[in-house]
């Protein structure tokens, strides 16, 4: 059965396709995304407070490697599809990074299915935001020498700053730390805001993302079938990589499904912002159309259930 939050996404897409005047105020968009990042971080942090950090190190390194590897694989594929080097690398960076909302939908789906996952999964999200972006920028920049050398240089210091202290990593990590420091009891007074309403807020945010994604559908024609195919075929392939990584790490079935989802998901907050700064000559609309217009809906509607199946096949004993 489809999750109720997904219907809100479809309502948003529908509203856009019929050219409704429905618009969520931008301040609401920002508020909801701040809320979701904090809440996810807090939830993960509370769980972190219950276990030894050191045991998580292998997972953390594997997440980092996974995120970094994805653009290395995807960029050549995208070049074969006819994209320029920078466009290919920039698009690949979006898939190397992760979508926090896709993660939230997957967590909700698992909960509804009664499948439990590693409760500190939010930590993986925070860790996987950056490496794919870094890899994408490296791929766009390395070996690049153009007429105007200036535009080709990357200010890595500024970029690292913008990613690590950027809104999404900062709020996720901030939530993680607060949750870990205060634990379940210490965060109880704020639970009525950050826990119970989570799924309802997610529904509202998906309504908004549906409006945005619906608006990108019109752009599809511009970029042709190859982009559509890429954005539909890539997620399950990446998910397989994520699930296998999870298997190697000895994760639970639920954890494998989450890691598969993270690998399959494409960033639409941190990555577009970073690419605009570091690789401005890349076609931003192209990446966002693929990530938010196709891959995101695919993942939340079909992908997440599929990745849970995948995890179950790979991990039949559990």
């Amino acid at each position: 059965m489809i999750d109720v939050v997904v219907l809100f996404f479809l309502l948003g897409v529908f509203a856009r396709l019929v050219k409704s005047d429905l618009r969520l105020p931008e301040a609401l968009y920002e508020t909801l995304s701040i809320y979701l990042l904090l809440a996810i971080g807090l939830k993960g942090g509370i769980e972190l407070s219950k276990q030894p950090m050191l045991a998580l190190l292998p997972q953390m390194l594997a997440c980092m490697a996974l995120g970094f590897a994805i653009p290395l694989v995807l960029t050549p594929v995208l070049r074969l599809l006819g994209l320029s080097r920078v466009d290919a690398a920039a698009m690949a960076a979006h898939y190397g990074s992760v979508s926090v909302v896709t993660f939230a939908v997957a967590s909700a789906y698992l909960a509804a299915q009664g499948v439990s996952a590693e409760p500190h999964a939010a930590l993986w999200v925070a860790i996987m935001e950056a490496p794919g972006i870094v890899a994408g920028i490296l791929l766009a920049r390395l070996g690049a020498r153009g007429a105007d050398g200036q535009a080709q240089r990357v200010n890595w210091g500024e970029l690292a700053h913008d990613v690590f202290f950027g809104k999404s990593v900062l709020l996720l990590a901030g939530g993680l730390v607060i949750g870990a420091v205060m634990g379940e009891a210490g965060t109880a007074p704020i639970a009525p805001v950050f826990m119970a309403p989570f799924k309802g807020v997610l529904a509202l945010f998906l309504l908004e993302l549906g409006l945005v994604a619906g608006g990108r559908l019109g752009e599809l024609r511009r970029y042709g079938l190859r982009i559509v195919v890429f954005a539909l075929v890539t997620p399950p392939v990446l998910a397989l990589g994520g699930a296998l990584t999870g298997l190697a790490l000895g994760l639970s079935t639920g954890g494998m499904a989450i890691l598969a989802t993270l690998a399959a998901s494409a960033s639409y907050i941190a990555a577009p912002t970073a690419m605009r700064m570091a690789v401005p000559e890349a076609n931003a609309a192209l990446s966002i159309t693929a990530a938010l217009g196709i891959t995101f809906p695919f993942n939340i509607v079909l992908g997440v259930p599929l990745y849970l199946q995948m995890a179950r096949w790979l991990n039949p004993g559990a």
Binding site: E26, E30, A151, L211, V212, R276, P280, E281
Partner: protein, 100 residues
């Protein structure tokens, strides 16, 4: 009331450029700036300000013609090739010439 001629430079651009545009114009001699959020479009694209990557800003700088030109030249060279961006100049009069 004495009035003094100055140039108003208006830059409409992707919101991602705000921090840089402010820093660049100060470096090039502007003594102040004013910014607000806008939405808009051109034959190239529509930017509705629905969400982050879709936001645009309008920045105003009042300065001497030379400073305005220097900022415009820098902006055209550095950002216009890769960013959605429009700029224009207008003649304005100010009262406290030392401020601009």
């Amino acid at each position: 009331m004495d009035k003094h001629a100055r140039t108003l430079l208006v830059i409409i651009a992707e919101a991602a450029l705000e921090k840089r545009l402010v820093a660049d114009s100060q470096r090039l001699g502007a003594q102040g700036y004013t910014v607000h959020d806008v939405r808009g479009g051109s034959r190239l694209s529509v930017r509705e300000s629905l969400w982050e990557a879709d936001r645009s800003i309008e920045m105003k700088v009042i300065a001497s013609p030379e400073v305005a030109d220097a900022i415009a030249r820098h902006v055209m060279g550095s950002y216009a090739p890769h960013y959605g961006l429009t700029l224009y100049f207008a003649d304005v009069d100010v009262i406290r010439p030392e401020k601009f």
